[in-house]
């Protein structure tokens, strides 16, 4: 199913939707939003691409293998939750620092903390899993397997 209108629209919509997901991601600290929702928005954007073109070109667009993406996301989330331990703080405590702050003028600068990286991990994880589901469903099924549940062959032993 090739649709020129959908494909053209997708070319313009994809960057906008991804930008929107970044906005939602960043505002999530104090307002509705955050890694999970933003990840879903990004996944919706890529799903649109997969529908307009095909699963293979979306995989090419994503560059990184989805399994790796899930792994990176989970690792990042765990690492940012565990990082406070290195500073003698409780597991999952927020560690914060600020860039370019000026105490004299009371300018807080740009605050960066472990919750941001935790959310980024969630974001990648959600994009990875959602896209893995969508792309697997869009791709033609592999050879169906009607054999028994337990088969032992190849390097199983």
């Amino acid at each position: 199913m090739k649709n020129v209108l959908l494909q053209t629209a997708t070319r313009y919509l994809l960057p906008l939707l991804l930008l929107f997901s970044v906005v939602i991601f960043l505002q999530g600290h104090n307002k509705p939003g955050g890694g999970f929702i933003a990840g879903l928005i990004a996944a919706a954007a890529f799903s649109l691409h997969a529908l307009a073109f095909d699963a293979a070109s979306t995989r090419r667009l994503l560059r990184v293998d989805l399994r790796s993406l899930i792994g990176i996301g989970l690792t990042l989330a765990i690492a940012s939750a565990a990082l406070p331990l290195a500073f003698g703080r409780t597991f999952f405590s927020g560690l914060w620092t600020s860039i370019g702050g000026d105490p004299a003028t009371g300018d807080p600068g740009l605050k960066i903390g472990t919750p941001l990286f935790f959310d980024l991990g969630v974001y990648l994880l959600v994009v990875g899993i959602a896209m893995l589901l969508v792309l697997t469903l869009l791709e033609p099924a592999g050879p169906t397997y009607e054999g028994p549940a337990d088969e032992s062959e190849g390097d199983a032993a």
């Binding site: 989970l74 409780t90 597991f91 549940a149 337990d150 190849g154 390097d155 199983a156």
Partner: protein
């Protein structure tokens, strides 16, 4: 109340963290099956080691608590480890390690490549999270974590049969999750808290609205579905016989027990205000679960279907102990769970070996030679597990049933005692049927199996090793029934002493409120006090 800062109090989350790290790393190493296998096994071994450490710690000292992110209870999420939670985590570790070892020889490489190992790790993390969390909503989250991975494992790489089983499983479990979530929302609406200790405090202080009893029954329904209790158990026998044997075994060993755990936690710690009413429902459900499960098993002619119906039946025994609600009965439930997890997982593993050796799981079409003659050792392993399940002395199941029956007699609940005893006999009948059909008979060669799609082949060494180790644990529980029972009693006392749990999570001041009578804003003020004490998370 916050315990020592830093690494020292990381222990309560380690059984969750270790398998999650293993899952994350093995996802990154998706190209190499060998690395995934190694990481998975390492994750399960790490989980077991941390769980054993936890058990030793809580056996020696008080309940361990970790306030995640240093947010004070009841606002943050508390991880709480008492004896019951710790022993459940140890059992999860044992079954986890066994599953990884057994999978190496039995699950086909094609399936293993479909992220089999990371999924198992996430499943284990979810199970342990459910056992260790002290927050009702967090419990829901861990349920979802383990359910999502179990959905994937159940359907993984399967054909029509597996997908059909998975659909039934997913549908009923989603229904149960929805009920759980609704009930959680209602609890929050009624009590303004989701921290289990805080809920327990408010219910004990007597300032919980009547509606909480109704909500607790809703939760009972949700957990009852997960535990496969009567009347909503039919998803279990419809799905557990379809995935690979290793997956069946870990499901059979652990997943329904998470439901039982949640029931026990809810109806010993939190919802005890109307225990005569709620526990009466549980008692009826327990009796019917036992009876219907064992009768269902009697009509089945497939190895794993018989075993699946027996899971249902055994769940009845566990709920019976909870329903009787005496210290002895709760101890019986804990003993039963300890015994059951090991035996049931082992029976499914042995079913896998028998299937390998016979080339079929049907109990009608047996192999050409008697399995007993061909593989006497495997047959002996089956006898240990099956007789233990049926409650033959001196194996672990006998003591588990004995304690429950004794508790029933003491509580003068004659109906449930009679049911439990009769169901025990019928269990023996079922196990004898498997023994006769699958292990003993050498039928007429003309009676060739119709569904034989593969030729029999010898099991891998790891498979036999796994079953031997689990059978040894069963025998050891039988031999050391005394110490195990004493531990169960201590765990039961801890469960029934809700104040101990509340003190561990919310601190001494919380209980002072309890004595001066209920104040709705009590725990809020406590929380403010602790905030000043610990300092906010930033």
């Amino acid at each position: 109340m916050d315990g020592p800062p830093g690494n020292a109090n990381l222990l309560p989350v380690l059984p969750v963290l270790i398998p999650l790290i293993a899952a994350a790393l093995s996802l990154l190493a998706w190209r190499s099956l060998a690395i995934q296998r190694g990481l998975g096994l390492a994750g399960a071994v790490g989980l077991l080691a941390s769980a054993v450490t936890l058990l030793v710690e809580v056996e020696r000292g008080p309940i361990l608590v970790l306030q995640v992110g240093a947010w004070p209870a009841p606002f943050g999420i508390s991880f709480v480890v008492d004896r019951f939670g710790a022993v459940m985590t140890v059992l999860a570790g044992v079954v986890g390690v066994a599953t990884f070892v057994f999978s190496m020889g039995s699950v086909d490489a094609r399936r293993q490549r479909l992220l089999y190992h990371p999924l198992l790790c996430v499943l284990l993390a979810g199970v342990c999270g459910a056992f260790l969390t002290g927050d009702l909503f967090n419990l829901y989250v861990w349920f979802e974590v383990l359910l999502m991975s179990s959905f994937a494992l159940l359907a993984l790489g399967g054909g029509v049969l597996q997908v059909e089983g998975a659909i039934k499983y997913v549908t009923l479990n989603l229904l149960s999750s929805a009920l759980f979530l609704i009930a959680t929302g209602l609890v929050y609406g009624a009590l303004g808290t989701l921290n289990m200790a805080d809920i327990a405090l408010k219910v004990r202080a007597g300032d919980s609205p009547e509606a909480v009893v109704a909500v607790s029954v809703l939760l009972m329904t949700a957990f009852g579905i997960k535990a496969a209790a009567f009347p909503l158990f039919f998803w279990l026998p419809a799905s557990y016989h379809t995935p690979p044997f290793a997956v069946s075994a870990i499901f059979a060993g652990l997943l329904t027990k998470v439901g039982v755990y949640a029931l026990v936690r809810s109806f010993t710690l939190m919802f005890v205000a109307e225990s005569e009413f709620t526990h009466a429902i549980l008692l009826v459900a327990a009796g019917l679960t036992m009876a219907v499960g064992v009768l269902g098993a009697a009509s089945q002619r497939e190895f794993r279907k018989v075993l699946s119906f027996h899971i249902v039946s055994q769940i009845g025994y566990m709920i019976m102990g909870l329903a009787l609600f005496t210290p002895l009965a709760i101890a019986g439930t804990i003993f039963y769970v300890i015994h059951h997890i090991v035996v049931k997982a082992n029976l499914f593993f042995i079913a896998g070996i028998a299937d390998r050796l016979r080339g079929t799981s049907s109990l009608v079409h047996a192999g050409r030679t008697s399995l007993y003659a061909k593989a006497p050792f495997v047959s002996a392993l089956f006898v240990v597990a099956a007789f233990s399940l049926a409650g033959m002395p001196p194996l672990s199941g006998f003591f588990a049933k004995f304690v429950l029956l004794k508790a029933g007699v003491e509580a003068k609940s004659w109906t449930i005692v009679a049911t439990a005893a009769a169901v025990g006999l019928l269990t023996l009948f079922s196990m004898t049927k498997i023994w006769a059909e699958a292990f003993w008979k050498a039928p007429d060669p003309a009676d060739a199996p119709i569904d034989r799609t593969r030729s029999p082949k010898p099991p891998a060494r790891g498979m036999i090793g796994t079953c031997t180790a689990l059978a040894a644990i069963t025998v050891l529980i039988g031999i050391f029934a005394g110490p195990v029972f004493e531990f169960s009693q201590r765990a039961a006392e801890q469960l029934l002493d809700g104040e101990q749990y509340i003190r561990a999570v919310l601190g001494e001041q919380a209980l002072a409120r309890l004595e001066t009578g209920g104040e709705t804003s009590g725990s809020l003020r406590i929380a403010d006090g602790t905030t000043a004490e610990i300092g906010g998370p930033r």
